[in-house]
């Protein structure tokens, strides 16, 4: 049945019916002459007008048929315009946006946006889009499609929606844009990884991926998704049925889920201490992005994306908390029992202290995240495996995070105390504690952040602790040695005027020599890595041993020298000992035995020389000093 007559508008439509003519199939309207475009759009408008004014019965089937042909045509035109503006543009701005770091470029880009949006043909566009990119300062929308093409798209969308073809319009729009967004994600290296894939990867590999993800997520949310949303608004806003929201969501939902799935997988990965800092990086990045995510996905329909981002953020926070408590557990339970040779700093101490100084670098985030106090010893006071410690004295003056740091140091010491028991030599155990606690103190003092958090009170306690360990060391090594140099037991009350037992004296000298040699031999292999601490301890040893030996020598030398083989008993001069003390705590065995006075080399230090001179009764300091200056071979004095 032939239609009775065709209107002019219908003729235009039918002329472009691609099922009817080869020419109509080959050519696109919107790539051609502007006049032709206007003519076609006018025809569609006329058709619709005719449709809506026609009464029930006489809305002729030719009109509806023509309208359907027109809509199919417009759908194809719509797709074609979209397709011709996908990849090339995006290539430029994606690489450009990666350099957004530079403020000047940001500015240029913003200006560009402002310019392009100002010559939009639609009146309502201006106010709206400008408000859009002012919402958060970090969002940077770019023009995904040039404004004249956007204009054409909107012209078509208007007509399709008016004719009830909204669904088709959304369908075409979303399918094309989605593939464009997908291509951009690929370019940004946003991979499609399953949770299983991510769990199988090495942590180092994941660290790189996390770093890359953070960069990509910023561009995705602030540039890519934000620009997609603006494009939807430019084309569909005000055309009813919240078409802009629907288009945005259908374009972005899968890519957004793909993007967030990675962070989600990281947030649920197994908790172990080394992951803390990258997890915090991820947390901080996402937390920075939250206002932008909320603004880009503000519509009701995109709620699920918003919700997922919030969930991930809170999971990351939870993971950080979990890792910290996991870390505390690990510090407490670190099981190595083999004593560190030489009583130096245990690897655990280094690890823990480096870890907590990194924690202090992240303190801003962690202070917010760590809200519950550590589960300290008081709760487990009957438990011998947990240090008994009351943190309440530090509460109030410091953050919960700082309490955790103090607690970690406390359990570290507790663990080290346990390890020190594995040294057979009690002196070495004390030296080990001294070294390690001293290291802890130095690490705290070395970081302003850490020092501030730990606070002076606890730092004083720690300082007291390593000083005590030093004292304990000296007591346990040197009391025995100095005992040989006491007067008691040497004087015999009898008829002889001298009143000194030669044999007892000889035994004393022998005992002293043996003990000192032994201490020298072993403790030269011990190690105090901190030079200043090493120096201080040696001085302190010298201050105790040297004067005692000197005076003992002064008082009893004559008794030995008057007998036979005095060199068997007085083996060492005062400066021999002074030199010997210099070998202590260097961490390697001395090659020769204790050097005799005859071997003394020029290296003798000024202060030792002085001491020696004074002990020999050469009193004038002046003389000594001048002689030193005049005679480099000072020891020959």
């Amino acid at each position: 049945m032939e239609p009775p007559e065709s209107t002019a508008a219908e003729k235009v439509i039918l002329q472009w019916d691609s099922t009817a003519s080869e020419d109509a199939r080959e050519r696109m309207i919107f790539t051609g002459d502007r006049q032709e475009i206007e003519r076609y759009l006018d025809a569609v408008d006329e058709l619709q007008k005719a449709m809506s004014s026609a009464s029930l019965s006489d809305s002729s089937s030719t009109t509806t048929s023509a309208l359907q042909i027109a809509m199919a045509r417009l759908e194809d035109e719509f797709r074609n315009i979209l397709l011709s503006h996908t990849s090339p543009v995006e290539d430029e701005w994606l690489t450009e946006s990666t350099q957004l770091e530079f403020a000047s470029q940001e500015f240029e880009l913003k200006e560009e946006i402002a310019e392009s949006s100002s010559d939009k043909q639609f009146e309502h566009q201006e106010s709206n889009s400008s408000s859009c990119y002012k919402t958060t300062s970090s969002i940077r929308e770019v023009d995904l499609i040039p404004s004249d093409a956007v204009y054409d798209l909107r012209c078509i969308a208007e007509r399709m929606i008016a004719a009830g073809y909204l669904r088709e319009c959304i369908q075409v729009y979303a399918s094309v844009r989605k593939s464009a967004v997908d291509a951009s994600l690929k370019k940004l290296n946003v991979e499609k990884l399953s949770i299983g894939d991510i769990q199988r990867l090495e942590w180092e590999t994941l660290e790189t991926k996390i770093r890359r993800w953070i960069r990509a997520a910023k561009i995705c949310v602030r540039v890519l998704f934000a620009s997609e949303r603006r494009l939807c608004e430019e084309i569909f806003e005000g055309l009813g049925n919240s078409a802009d929201d629907a288009c945005f969501m259908e374009t972005i939902k899968s890519p957004a889920i793909q993007l967030f799935n990675f962070a989600e997988a990281i947030s649920i990965s197994r908790r172990s201490p080394e992951k803390l800092f990258k997890i915090l990086d991820l947390h901080d990045a996402l937390s920075d992005l939250m206002p932008d995510i909320e603004s880009v996905f503000e519509s009701k329909s995109s709620e699920s994306i918003r919700v997922q981002a919030v969930e991930i953020l809170s999971r990351l926070a939870e993971a950080a908390r979990g890792i910290l408590s996991e870390f505390e557990n690990a510090v407490l339970r670190e099981p190595s029992k083999v004593p560190v040779p030489g009583g130096t700093i245990h690897p655990l101490t280094r690890y823990v202290m480096n870890y907590i100084s990194l924690i202090s670098d992240y303190k801003q985030t962690l202070i917010e995240l760590i809200v519950s106090k550590p589960s300290t010893g008081s709760r487990y006071s009957s438990d011998p495996n947990v240090p008994d410690m009351d943190l309440s004295e530090f509460e109030g003056q410091t953050s919960t995070l700082a309490l955790h740091l103090i607690w970690i140091i406390a359990i570290l010491q507790f663990n080290l105390d346990g390890k020190s028991k594995h040294y057979k030599d009690a002196s070495l155990a004390h030296l080990f504690m001294m070294n390690n606690v001293h290291y802890i103190v130095q690490k705290i003092k070395g970081s302003a952040e850490l020092r501030e958090m730990i606070g002076d009170d606890y730092l004083r306690k720690l300082t007291g602790k390593f000083r005590l360990a030093a004292t304990n060391y000296q007591r346990s090594t040197w009391v025995r040695v100095l005992h040989c140099l006491r007067d008691e037991g040497l004087h015999v009350s009898g008829s002889f005027s001298s009143g000194v037992s030669k044999s007892a004296l000889r035994e004393r000298f022998k005992a002293f020599n043996a003990m000192f040699e032994e201490v020298h031999r072993t403790q030269a292999t011990w190690l105090i890595p901190d030079t200043q601490l090493r120096e201080e301890l040696r001085i302190s040893i010298s201050e105790k041993v040297i004067p005692a030996y000197r005076s003992f020598l002064g008082r009893f030398r004559s008794h030995i020298e008057s007998g036979r083989h005095p060199e068997n008993y007085i083996k060492y001069s005062v400066e021999d000992l002074e030199n010997a003390v210099l070998d202590f705590f260097e961490g390697y065995p001395v090659s020769q035995h204790l050097r005799r006075r005859s071997d003394i080399l020029i290296e003798t230090r000024y202060d030792m020389l002085m001491a020696d001179l004074i002990s020999r009764g050469q009193t004038s300091v002046l003389t000594v000093q001048s002689s030193l200056r005049l005679f480099p071979n000072a020891s020959t004095l």
Binding site: S61, Q68, R167, Q171, V176, S179, K253, I268, E318, R379
Partner: protein, 389 residues
């Protein structure tokens, strides 16, 4: 609650002169370690019974209900309940779960449950896929549903949507070639270029890589899943039966989801360990059998999902296609009545999907969350029990 009663009575003799804090610790301790054999048994038996009841209930579904969205939601509900009860068992048996052989069993379970998370994500993608088909039905309804009179134009519009629907519903592997013509009412010379971009679009509907396979994931969940042996049941006081049960429930629920909903490389040949010694095994295995039978039916064999609503889409689309092919204008009154009837059918299907998918998606998400939570809490409490032992 018997467990609570027991806890109270056991704690009183040990509460001599300790501080309140240490006493509380003692209570927790005693509740676990001296957890009286009968107390634990009733808890574990109750778990077996509840799981069995839930699945008997699910198995009671007739062939219309089975694999429908409401049934799937009921299945997920059952899973969430089992998961909750299992979680309590884990909490009450921390210290046993960190010693061999239970430590291995429970960590196996947590590993399996992580694998289920990927299935949940794939299912979410699949639901999104069904939503795309829903959109095509919506167009059919737009074209033919609300018109005062139905003309050729409307039919052409509906037909176009039906063609798109058919293409979209083709299984992934067959569809890429046809995609160039997707949505096109006429061909054009640059078809090749478009094919590329639509290829992108297709791959995008899955958020996991192309190599990911639901069938393999199920295989991984099911591997090494065997019923505990008698002597081990004795030595663990039946605790390993609870873990096995939860593993089995997890596997079955994930398998059923993959059976019902489109996802990448579906495959239902996952091996199900045959065991009838447990109360719940009978209903689960009978459901397994019924679902497999459904998959073997001729009209479902090539389907992209056994979900009843997908079948309904296929049916109503076929009816609509037949109708549009047989139509001549002007419509006879009889044809017009038929059209109205068919449209009502489409509307029913459309409404069921439209109303069903959102809550289903949320529930799948909830399953995801609960699995994560139970794993995190479980690992946490077990490791803590470890450190304070």
């Amino acid at each position: 609650m018997p467990a609570t009663d027991y806890q109270e009575s056991s704690s009183s003799p040990s509460s001599f002169g300790f501080s309140i804090l240490s006493r509380r610790r003692d209570q927790v301790h005693s509740m676990e370690s001296t957890h009286d054999a009968t107390g634990q048994e009733t808890e574990l038996e109750a778990f077996q019974r509840q799981v069995a009841e839930r699945f008997q209930d699910l198995a009671a579904a007739d062939s219309h209900e089975l694999l429908s969205i409401p049934w799937i939601r009921k299945l997920l509900d059952a899973f969430l309940c089992c998961q909750e009860e299992f979680k309590i068992i884990v909490m009450n048996n921390k210290s046993k779960l960190n010693k061999p052989p239970m430590d291995r069993h429970i960590s196996d379970f947590f590993e399996r449950s992580v694998k289920a998370l990927d299935v949940c994500n794939a299912i979410r993608d699949g639901i999104e896929q069904i939503r795309q088909w829903e959109k095509q039905l919506e167009i059919v309804l737009c074209a033919l549903g609300n018109q005062r009179s139905i003309g050729e134009g409307q039919f052409r519009r509906a037909k176009k949507a039906l063609v798109d629907l058919a293409i979209a519903m083709l299984d992934e592997k067959d569809s890429n070639t046809t995609l160039a013509h997707r949505n096109r009412s006429f061909g054009r010379h640059n078809a090749q270029k478009e094919q590329r971009s639509f290829g992108h679009f297709r791959s995008l509907s899955w958020s996991v890589s192309r190599s990911w396979s639901a069938a393999r994931q199920l295989q991984a969940i099911s591997s090494n899943l065997v019923a505990p042996r008698g002597n081990e049941i004795m030595s663990t006081n039946g605790l390993n039966v609870a873990v096995f049960t939860m593993n089995y429930v997890l596997l079955f629920v994930m398998w059923a989801l993959v059976a019902a909903i489109p996802c990448q490389d579906r495959g239902l040949q996952t091996h199900f360990y045959m065991t009838r010694q447990f109360l719940w095994a009978v209903p689960i295995l009978s459901l397994h059998e019924r679902i497999l039978e459904e998959a073997k039916k001729r009209d479902r064999r090539n389907s992209c999902g056994l979900l009843k609503e997908i079948h309904d889409i296929e049916k109503c689309a076929r009816h609509m296609n037949e109708l549009t092919d047989s139509i001549h204008f002007p419509l006879t009154e009889e044809k017009e009545r038929e059209v109205k009837q068919r449209i009502e059918e489409v509307r029913r299907v459309y409404d069921a999907i439209k109303d069903g998918l959102d809550p289903l998606e949320r529930q799948v998400r909830e399953v995801f969350h609960r699995i994560v939570r139970s794993r995190t809490d479980g690992l946490d409490s077990i490791s803590r029990a470890n450190s304070h032992d």
